[in-house]
Symmetry: C2
DNA sequence: TTGCCTCAAGGTGCATACACTTTGGCACGA
DNA sequence: TCGTGCCAAAGTGTATGCACCTTGAGGCAA
C-alpha cells in the first residue's frame, strides 16, 4: 500500500484534458487545470511537473507556465522558487472558516441585491430555480439523482443573486470561499431529503425578502442558511471520518468529502 | 489639456523600479509592479506594454509576463486575449462594497482571534500598537506627520489581529478588500484629530474584548469600527470631489483618494 | 551502519526567435 | 466628407534552447 507520500508528483493517469473553446492555449490550460483542481482530481501537496503536463496536453511549457502563474495568483496553487508549483492543501479548520466567510459574504450579497433590486432576467432565473426545486421535490418516488439535480438548481439560485448584487469584489471573495475542492458543486451530496427540503424553503424565504426589498431580513436569512449548511456538512464529515477511522491524522486534508 | 483618454499606455515616466531582495526575477517584478499598482502609480484602464516594461526593468519579457499573469490572478490586472494586460479600474460603488466586506471579514477575524486566543508575540504587538498610539496622540503640539505615523500603528494593530485569527483564507479575502489603491496605507489621510482619537479608543475596546475571549463583542466592535471608517472616508471623499467639481464623470475612478 | 560528499539527472528560470493578432494610417471610391 | 479596405508597424502568444538550482543515488570514510 502506498502510505501518504508527503510530496508525490501529480497526474499519474492524466486527470486533466484540454478545454478547446478558449481563445488562447494559455487560457485553455488555465481552465482545464482549474477544473481539475476544483474537482479534486489532483492530490493536495503534490508537485506539478511542467514538462509532463506540457506533453500530456500537447503544448509547450510556455502556456503551461502562464496558466500555473494565474492559478497561483488565485490561490489554487502554491509557488516555491526553483521548485515549481504544488497543489494547495486545505485544512479542516480552513474549510470551516470558509463557510463562516461564505455566510457573511453571501449575506452581504443578499443585502445588496435587496437594496439594488432584481433585473428581469435575474428575477426570472430565481423564480425558475424555485419552480424547478418545487417540482423536483414533489416527485413521489424520489429520483436517484435528486441530489445532483438539486445541486444545479442551487447553483442557479445563488448565481442569480450574485449577479443581482453586481459586485465583482464579492464575486472574487466568493470564488475564494468556493475554491476548496468539492465543497461547491457537491454541497448537497450526503444530505438527506428533509435537509434539502428545508434548504429549499430557505430559498423561498430569501427570494421573498429580496423581492420585498428588505435588505436586513435578506442578509440575516442567507447567513442562517449558510451556517446551517455548514453544520450539516460538518455532521456528515464527522460521520464519514468516523467510518474510516484509520489514519486520523488525515484530518488535515479533506479529500474524503468526495 | 489631456482629456480622459479611454485607453492610454502606462508608465510615461517609469513609476516602477525593481525590488532586488526576491529570489527570482519574476518575483522581483511581481513585487515591484504590485507595489506600483497599490500605490496608484499606474493609471487605471491603461494598458501595460510588455516590451517597454521589460526594457525599463532590464529583464526579458518572460519574467514580466510571469509577474503580470500572477497579478491578473490576484485581480489587480485584467487580461484581454491578444491585447495584453490592463490596469484594473475600481468604481466608487466597488470601493463602498469593499468597506462593507472588510467590516465583515475583519469582524470575523476578531471573532476567531477571540475564540483562539492571542500568542505572546501577538499580544505584545497589539499592546505596543496601543501604547505607541497613546503616546503619539498625547503629544501636545500635534506633529505634522501625525496621520502617517498613526497609519503605521494602525497597520500593526490590524496585522497582529489577522495573525491571531490564523486563517490564510481570511488573509486572502482582506487582500482583496485592500487591493484598491490608496485605501489601505492612507486610511488615515484626510481625517481630523478627533476622528483618529475615536478610532484609537475603538482599538482599545477591541483589544480588551479579544483578551477577555468575548468573540461576539469583538466581532461587533470591529464591524462598527470599519463601518464608521467607511463613513468618514466617504465624507472626506464627498468634500474632495465637491472641491474639484470639474468633470463629475470622474466619479467612476478613485484617484482623488491620494 | 551511519553520515557526508560528489555528481549526474531531472526540472525550473530566463532569454530569444518567430508566428499571429491587433491597430492605426493611408489610399481609394462613393 | 465619409465609409471601406489594405497594409505595415507594433505588440502579444508560443516554442525552444540553455543556464542554474534542486534532488536523490551512490561512493567513501569514520
Amino acid at each position: 500500500m502506498t502510505s501518504k507520500a508527503a510530496v508525490q508528483t501529480a497526474s499519474s493517469e492524466e486527470p486533466v484534458s484540454l478545454a478547446l473553446h478558449a481563445r488562447t492555449r494559455a487560457l485553455q490550460v488555465t481552465e482545464s487545470v482549474r477544473a481539475a483542481l476544483l474537482d479534486g482530481k489532483l492530490p493536495a501537496d503534490s508537485r506539478i511537473n511542467e514538462v509532463q503536463l506540457a506533453r500530456s496536453l500537447s503544448v509547450s511549457r510556455t502556456p503551461i507556465r502562464a496558466a500555473l502563474q494565474t492559478l497561483a495568483g488565485e490561490g489554487l496553487l502554491d509557488h516555491q522558487p526553483n521548485r515549481g508549483f504544488v497543489v494547495r492543501a486545505f485544512s479542516m479548520g480552513e474549510i470551516g472558516d470558509a463557510f463562516e466567510m461564505r455566510a457573511l459574504s453571501e449575506g452581504l450579497i443578499c443585502r445588496l441585491a435587496a437594496e439594488r433590486g432584481l433585473s428581469a432576467e435575474q428575477d426570472l432565473a430565481m423564480r425558475e430555480a424555485l419552480y424547478l426545486g418545487d417540482e423536483l421535490l414533489a416527485l413521489s418516488p424520489t429520483p436517484p439523482d435528486c441530489r445532483s439535480r438539486y445541486s444545479a438548481i442551487n447553483v442557479q439560485f445563488h448565481l442569480a443573486l450574485q449577479q443581482a448584487a453586481d459586485s465583482r469584489l464579492l464575486a472574487d471573495v466568493l470564488r475564494l470561499c468556493n475554491r476548496i475542492p468539492q465543497t461547491l458543486t457537491h454541497n448537497v451530496v450526503g444530505f438527506d431529503l428533509p435537509d434539502i427540503r428545508r434548504r429549499h424553503e430557505n430559498h423561498h424565504k430569501i427570494y421573498h425578502a429580496v423581492l420585498l426589498r428588505e435588505p436586513k431580513a435578506a442578509e440575516t436569512l442567507m447567513r442562517a442558511h449558510i451556517v446551517s449548511l455548514k453544520a450539516s456538512l460538518m455532521r456528515v464529515a464527522a460521520l464519514a471520518s468516523a467510518a474510516k477511522k484509520d489514519d486520523p491524522a488525515d484530518e488535515t486534508h479533506a479529500q474524503w468529502l468526495l
